[in-house]
Point group: C2
DNA sequence: AGAAAAGCTTGACACTTGTCAAAATTTTTC
DNA sequence: GAAAAATTTTGACAAGTGTCAAGCTTTTCT
């Protein structure tokens, strides 16, 4: 019997198939986590989102923690390069800005459920040490992803970075998280607002030389358009 | 029997005592949430953090959701005015800055466990509609709290606000959340880093006229001091 | 003091949880 | 095609969950 403790000396084909099924089940776990949240995700629910019954999970994973860790790693792989194409394609400052904002909006529209999973797991990390290493690594990868975009801004403006990577990431992440909550609560303008917010922040810290940055995102116009305060 | 549906026509003293015990049990719930997180908080655990047995919870609360909502509201009352004294005391820009940074650090050092509860509950809101209204209200209150500080900055500098309240709150909150995770993970420098980060961000957006803002938080010194990037 | 109300405990209920072992099924190997 | 291995299902387990009702204890009121 092929179990978890002796993956050595086993034909390549078997290992691949084993890993394939693991990925399949991890995907079911992701779907469940995205749907119900960590607190209400059980192994039986996960199994119901797969083609198998609950018993099979202990054939492919040591325990529940192992399964969730595996699924988080799988989620990561899809996330961390999401905006790289935008960076590669952009030829001007405004290209990069609008491309990034569009990509953010697309993520929010298409993967809101998947992304709330991420914030949920990250919150679990505040209590559960088991997830900390993986979550920290994923967080770092996301930080790097944002940083690559900022570096492209720097190339396009010639101005130096005004803030270190963790700070920029924390700010963007904060805005994204705020938007996600509003978006899921049914606020139809949440995405537009986030785009305006991120543009304002990025305009400020990239110190775009042109005057248009201050015009398109001046406090006056914003306050009027959004009725905030 | 005094139950939850008929609080009218009952002597004031009774109501007070009833409310008092509710508060006491809500406090036990907060302690449990702060300790175990939402996913592992059960009514029996909450009761064990109080002086009573688990059955009493259904005497004072309709159900688990009611209890948690009550405890979140109670938590809110303590949070939202936390930094107001700083605002009131500050006479200069630097007063306000250092006072605020010190208050942030104090919160992080003394109430990290309590505050991770907040992020946990807020994440639950992404899945559970039951908490949404209360969490949104608390979030708004925190936003206002930050905004009052920014308004004081404006008074002291004479410069207008450069960003709307939700943006500033999201940024500060993102930095705080990032720091909390690091702090709870055992990173001894997390708090110092957060203070530097918040100072940098606030310096940037309040556009402090004096040159010292750019010196104490210039990209060069920061990058060197923190080995980031 | 006695009656009534309030406060609290106990124990049960139906249900869910993670885990695991044995059996049933499928796939691979010779 | 039979034996062996790998895979999947089934059913059970002990523990834990929210909820509630019956009863015990304490307080309050007259």
């Amino acid at each position: 019997m092929q179990n978890l403790k002796e993956l050595d000396r086993i034909p390549r084909q078997r290992v691949d198939k084993f890993a394939e099924r693991r990925a399949e089940l991890a995907e079911a776990a992701l779907q469940t986590l995205a749907e119900l949240g960590y607190a209400r995700t059980s192994l039986r629910e996960i199994a119901q989102n797969s083609e198998f019954t609950h018993g099979v999970l202990h054939y492919y994973f040591r325990d529940k923690v192992d399964l969730i860790l595996c699924s988080v790693r799988q989620y990561k792989a899809r996330c961390v390069t999401r905006y790289d194409q935008v960076t590669a394609d952009a030829r001007t400052y405004e290209d990069l800005m609008t491309g990034f904002l569009a990509a953010l909006a697309q993520t929010m529209r298409g993967e809101a459920h998947m992304h709330r999973l991420w914030y949920d797991i990250r919150s679990q990390t505040l209590f559960e040490t088991a997830f900390r290493a993986d979550v920290a690594e994923l967080d770092k990868s996301l930080e790097n992803m944002i940083w690559r975009i900022m570096c492209r801004f720097v190339e396009l403006t010639g101005e130096p970075q005004s803030m270190p990577p963790p700070v920029i990431y924390a700010m963007i992440d904060g805005l994204f998280q705020q938007c996600l909550l509003k978006h899921l609560s049914g606020d139809a303008r949440a995405i537009d607002q986030m785009q305006a917010d991120v543009r304002l922040v990025l305009s400020t810290i990239t110190k775009k030389p042109a005057a248009s940055a201050r015009v398109t995102a001046s406090p006056g116009r914003r306050a009027k358009g959004r009725r905030r305060g």
